[in-house]
């Protein structure tokens, strides 16, 4: 055994290491990633690069105690070091077994999933690739946009990222699953030459073939022109149109706080308001809104598909390493306006009599009307139109009260038209309350959550009208 093993072979080698006497199971995750990035500021390139990395985790299960059911303990050892020494493979197994022994019984212990019908599909295929060449068209359009900007007094900033990660998952129960996940996004930020006005647009994509940067640049030019008339407004509650990007950020944050265990324990905004239990079943809105994550994606929105099995190197309230390889399906977190599901690892699901549900890698809010953002603007007598949100943080987990800022363009709408640009605001709002209070919801579209795009890009969200969005104070930022 010499040289560097392929990822599939690494999985097999780790699984082939004989377990210690107390070992009861093992999971191996290997992920190869390639990422190509472009970054620009002041209409010139700043930092660019191409990186390749590998990340592998060995998860060992050991029996606690010598006899009887003292439970099962688990330890995880991860590395991004290349495996050149066969001894490193055995060392990682021994280290993860030792970590498990140090840990004591795990509350999320469950038997490892068994192979299903799709087992082994695509397993021998190599890691999917990307290169700086993925930006062939984008780089040309960017150079043209820089030129247009120079002519029109517009300065461009932004970032494009294309990451392709291929994961191989193997378990001692015979599961072998492979998934290749492309994740791409581009953000364009245009400012007037005096930096006094700013506009933003973003796109989420699997491969950049569907990105038209010049069209995006055109949209931003229009938005900058709206700022020719500038108004100052005080902080108060306003009728406010949230664009899909803003809705995506707020609902992504909400989903990250939907762990069933916390709700059951009374320390979550999803805990029942008094007594025990959770808010599952509670009606939030009379609008037929459904919030879904689905590994299969959605026929109307290409490029949303995610791994159809769970792969995780850590356990927390909403995920468990014992569930590695478990098939993932569609989850409706909100169904027809009611809270419908919370996230439970399999062990917690059994403990609380709920269904296994894992936070997905995509999120869709559907069930609104057909209207576009422009239609919501056209139907608004007086209100604010936002571009996106920023610096969103939890203020009170009991109500899921979030604070944050409006960013890169707040526009005043009067009698169905944008009539000027206003100052930014700090808001304090709960996404649960937004769902409760939304008075109009439009058609869903593929969008990029501005703030959380580093972690979450595959969202399909509608624009939404709030009759009384809480703008708590004025921000002088432009």
């Amino acid at each position: 055994m010499s040289g560097v093993p392929a990822s599939q072979e690494l999985v097999e080698r780790v699984l082939a290491v004989p377990g210690a006497a107390d070992a009861t199971g093992r999971v191996v995750l290997v992920t190869e990633s390639r990422e190509a990035v472009l970054r620009w500021a002041n209409s010139t390139m700043t930092t660019n690069g191409l990186t390749r990395s590998v990340d592998w985790s060995v998860i060992s299960l050991v029996r606690v105690g010598t006899a009887g059911d003292g439970g099962t303990a688990v330890g995880v050892v991860s590395s991004s070091a290349q495996v050149t020494d066969p001894a490193a493979v055995e060392a990682s197994v021994r280290a993860s077994e030792a970590a498990a022994r140090a840990s004591g019984p795990a509350r999320d212990a469950a038997t490892l999933p068994e192979p299903g019908a799709d087992n082994g599909a695509g397993w021998p295929d190599p890691a999917a690739e990307t290169s700086i060449g993925v930006y062939g068209r984008l780089a040309e359009e960017l150079a043209e946009a820089f030129g247009r900007g120079r002519d029109a007094g517009r300065v461009l900033y932004g970032f494009a990222s294309h990451e392709v990660s291929t994961t191989w998952l193997g378990t001692s129960t015979g599961v072998r699953r492979r998934w290749s996940q492309p994740t791409g996004s581009v953000e364009l930020n245009a400012k007037t030459a005096d930096l006094g006005r700013s506009a933003w647009g973003g796109r989420s994509t699997a491969d950049f073939t569907d990105v038209d940067l010049l069209a995006l640049d055109g949209e931003l030019a229009t938005r900058l022109s709206w700022g020719a008339r500038r108004l100052e407004l005080p902080a108060e509650r306003y009728p406010t149109i949230l664009p899909p990007s803003a809705v995506a950020d707020l609902l992504t944050f909400m989903c990250w706080n939907m762990a069933g265990r916390q709700a059951q324990e009374g320390r979550s905004a999803f805990s029942a308001p008094s007594g025990g239990g959770t808010r599952v079943g509670e009606r939030l809105t009379s609008l037929p809104l459904t919030l879904t994550s689905d590994p299969a994606g959605s026929p109307g929105y290409p490029g949303l598909a995610t791994a159809p099995f769970l792969a995780s190197a850590h356990s927390d309230d909403d995920v468990s390493v014992f569930d590695n390889g478990a098939p993932l399906g569609r989850v409706d977190w909100i169904a027809d306006g009611r809270v419908n599901a919370l996230a439970y690892p399999r062990a917690a699901a059994a403990e609380f009599g709920a269904g296994f549900a894992a936070m997905g890698e995509n999120l869709l809010l559907t069930g609104g009307a057909d209207g576009t953002l422009d239609d919501l603007v056209a139907g608004t007598e007086r209100g604010l139109l936002l571009t996106c949100l920023w610096y969103i943080r939890m203020v009170d987990p009991g109500t899921l009260l979030l604070t944050g800022l409006t960013r890169d363009g707040v526009y005043l709408v009067e009698r169905g038209e944008v009539v000027g640009e206003v100052n930014n605001f700090r808001f304090n709002e709960s996404p649960l309350d937004l769902l409760r209070r939304a008075s109009a919801v439009g058609g869903a579209e593929r969008t990029l959550p501005r703030e959380f795009k580093d972690w979450f890009t595959r969202t399909v969200m509608p624009p939404m009208l709030l009759p009384d969005f809480n703008m708590s104070s004025v921000s002088r930022a432009s």
């Binding site: 290349q82 004591g104 580093d454």
Partner: protein, 505 residues
């Protein structure tokens, strides 16, 4: 500086010199004007306990190399996890190729400040017990003991305990001849107690005030923080918080404890004095800064009591290191003096733009996969230089106010004007004495008005170094650890919100 022998032999055993020769040699052949190689190993261990049971034991290691070049005035960067001379040379080639590909869309040629050459230099941070020499069982036992003590107390329904630990090794070599090898350790032992009132549908949490620190396992054992004392007092404080009255919104004089003020400094001064932000490099992401370079020497940042420094040298500081990722020897300098903006955080490309002939050493990359950018130094508020004023004296001077302790929620806008912070513990101040806890408190202000309202500073004995392990910046995102020292301080008539009212309750 600590002797070379303390750098882990496993890191020393990597073929560092051969990798440097291969990468830098290839870059020179391809006519790079500048090239540097970084080889990094980062070891991390995360231990987490939930109600006394381990929920996660995870060890991780990162190992790789990165090559950065300047070709024809344009940056190129590439990285790999393969640590062979062949891979290092190939990575240098890819970095040159990236630079050549992007030359056409680069309109500003890169120029850099000079720096002396440091040949074969080394540096190790100050710690007593390398966490990697302590058995995992022992660490878990300590966290389990903390959890048990909390859970045994009245009014505590849940206890979370955790301890992330990091050991970072960096080797840097460049075409000019600098070659450094460094090692540093950081740790954040922490716990949170939670009280739940199911009948009322309410819960409250209270976290330790212990900051993460550039220390070893001795910190968890009590060197630099008294965890035992805090574990003993938290249950009663948590019970007090459950019973506390909700705050009446309005303007209050705030005495802000260092355990809270560090984060306000981080957000409203630390990020605002990053030069890359001030000139727009982060405009599309982290944001810009109201403190623009044209106002250097004239911007009234705060009251005359305000003296803020940047440093990468303070003992146990999370941003402290010997040499930065540009090969610059680290230092300390003024950012705000007598309330006026006088400096920025810089790297070697930014120093000349500000008319300076040397960088102050703020280049940092968080992994071998990422390009170095200008990252935050330890940014700290100096204590009262004339008198060793105590916390009690600051509180004693307030007729009606709030004493704010510990950080919790934070948010600030993209130009670092408007911020909102909450905290772990709030105490009403009435006629110079503490008068019980308050809840639902958030303070909100604009940076220059807030610092302009600074009326009192604690003395040197009250100064505390706090910080964070998880400061985010740049695209692709990078995480950095940074410390902020400050005394408790008095701010007059700051706007306080009631967060329950903000939520419409």
């Amino acid at each position: 500086m600590v002797a070379d022998r303390q750098i882990d032999p496993e890191f020393r055993a990597l073929p560092l010199a051969r990798l440097a020769d291969a990468a830098l040699g290839r870059a020179r052949e391809l006519r790079a004007e500048h090239a540097d190689l970084r080889v990094e190993r980062i070891l991390g261990q995360m231990l987490a306990l939930r109600d006394g049971a381990v929920s996660s034991t995870a060890d991780r290691g990162v190992l790789g190399l990165a090559v950065r070049v300047i070709v024809d005035g344009t940056w190129g960067f590439a990285a790999t996890h393969e640590l062979t001379p062949e891979a290092a040379a190939a990575t240098a080639e890819r970095a040159v190729q990236v630079a050549r590909t992007l030359r056409a869309v680069n309109s500003e040629a890169v120029t850099r400040a000079d720096e002396p050459v440091y040949a074969e230099a080394s540096w190790v941070s100050e710690y007593e017990i390398d966490p990697w020499t302590v058995p995992t069982e022992e660490k878990i036992a300590l966290l389990a003991d903390w959890s048990a003590r909390l859970l045994a107390a009245d009014g505590v329904d849940h206890a979370d305990a955790a301890c992330p630990q990091v050991k970072e090794n960096k080797f840097y070599a460049d075409l000019a001849g600098t070659s450094t090898v460094q090692q540093r350790v950081r740790i954040e032992p922490r716990f949170t107690a939670t009280a739940v009132d199911r009948g009322a549908g309410r819960f409250e949490t209270m976290r330790t005030l212990a900051p993460p620190a550039g220390r070893g396992w001795e910190y968890a054992l009590g060197t630099g923080w008294d965890f035992d004392a805090e574990l003993a007092e938290v249950p009663e404080l948590l019970a007090g918080k459950m019973k506390a009255p909700t705050v009446e919104p309005g303007r209050y004089d705030l005495v802000i404890d260092p355990t809270n003020l560090w984060l306000t400094i981080h957000e409203s001064v630390g990020h605002a004095t990053e030069y890359d932000r001030a000139i727009g490099y982060e405009a599309a992401y982290a944001g810009t800064s109201f403190a623009t370079p044209d106002q250097l020497g004239s911007l009234r940042y705060g009251s005359e009591l305000m003296h803020v420094t940047g440093d990468r040298t303070v003992p146990h500081g999370l941003a402290t290191i010997g040499y930065d990722d540009d090969g610059v020897a680290t230092t300390e300098w003024d950012l705000v003096r007598d309330g006026v903006l006088v400096g920025y955080q810089l790297d070697r490309t930014f120093a000349p733009r500000l008319g300076l002939d040397r960088s102050n050493g703020c280049a940092f990359a968080d992994s071998p996969q990422h390009v170095p950018i200008q990252r935050m130094a330890n940014v700290s508020l100096r204590p009262d230089p004339r008198r060793d004023t105590t916390l009690d004296e600051l509180i004693g001077g307030v007729r009606k106010g709030i004493y704010v302790v510990g950080d919790k929620s934070w948010s600030i806008d993209m130009q670092r004007y408007n911020f909102q912070f909450t905290g772990q513990r709030f105490f009403a101040i009435e006629n110079g004495t503490l008068a019980g806890q308050l809840r639902d408190v958030a303070y909100q202000a604009t940076t220059t008005e807030f610092w302009g309202s600074l009326r009192g500073l604690g003395g040197p004995s009250s100064w505390l170094l706090s910080g964070a392990l998880n400061c985010g910046k740049a695209q692709p995102g990078q995480i950095a650890a940074v410390s902020h020292g400050c005394p408790p301080a008095l701010f007059e008539q700051v706007s306080v919100l009631n967060t329950a009212a903000e939520a419409g309750r």
